[in-house]
């Protein structure tokens, strides 16, 4: 299963719920306002660093660029993918759970 999160971690609990429920070892993709979670030096950085060890965490590049987040500001261990990569993840990991 692929878990996808599009809400800001500073405003909503979607990412927290996802991390609480999703079985370890699964794949998580951050997109739209969800990409803010992938940044270094924020109040959720430690949470995401830990998540990147327990899960495969991905972040959508076009949404990072739109929000002015440079690739070197993305937490180590989180992989940046483009739209093609998004499609590949869906194919690879099967059904999508969307944490709206």
């Amino acid at each position: 299963m692929l878990h996808i999160v599009n809400k800001s971690p500073f405003e909503r609990s979607a990412l927290d719920s996802c991390l609480r429920v999703a079985p370890k070892g699964g794949a998580i993709l951050l997109y739209e306002d969800g990409v803010y979670a992938a940044c270094v030096e924020t109040t959720v950085t430690d949470t995401l660093k830990a998540a990147a060890i327990e899960y495969s965490v991905f972040v959508l590049g076009p949404d990072l660029a739109a929000r002015g987040i440079a690739p070197d500001r993305v937490i180590e261990g989180i992989e940046v993918v483009d739209y093609g990569g998004f499609v590949d993840l869906v194919e690879e990991h099967g059904p999508v759970q969307s944490w709206l």
């Binding site: 599009n6 500073f10 405003e11 803010y36 949404d63 660029a65 739109a66 929000r67 002015g68 500001r73």
Partner: protein
């Protein structure tokens, strides 16, 4: 409005307007709607201040490039506010720091306020519009 554009002489009815931006720029329409309202208010010579707090601080982050998501990048428009005589731009410190941002990260010069200072400023307003 038809024919001639009006002279925006509204002297005597100047109110203190505060716009409080609390949302990230592209996930929802709030940021753009507030920005348009700010521009319209300013054209009518109101006393406008603009606050960025919570995820609203992301609106003025430098380096936004929306080509790949195919929506309009409106972050350059914040730099036009000065020409509209909107020069009172504030960022709440806690929101900024929680998101790993500093004053150098913003496209416009801002004054950083504590939550307490911001609360005091809110108390002085005639109208507060939040989005």
């Amino acid at each position: 409005m038809n024919e001639l554009e009006p002279d925006y002489d509204t002297e005597g009815v100047v109110k203190k307007f505060m716009f409080v931006n609390r949302k990230a720029p592209y996930g929802t329409i709030y940021a753009l709607e507030i920005l348009e309202t700010v521009l319209i208010s300013a054209a009518f010579d109101q006393d406008v201040s603009v606050v960025f707090m919570d995820d609203g601080v992301f609106q003025i982050k430098k380096g936004q490039d929306t080509k790949a998501i195919n929506v309009k990048n409106f972050s350059p428009t914040y730099r036009a506010l000065e020409g509209y005589d909107v020069e009172k731009l504030f960022v709440e410190r806690e929101s900024m720091e929680a998101r790993g941002l500093a004053v150098d990260d913003f496209v416009v010069p801002v004054e950083v306020l504590s939550a307490e200072e911001l609360g005091g400023l809110m108390d002085q307003q005639d109208v507060i519009i939040t989005g």
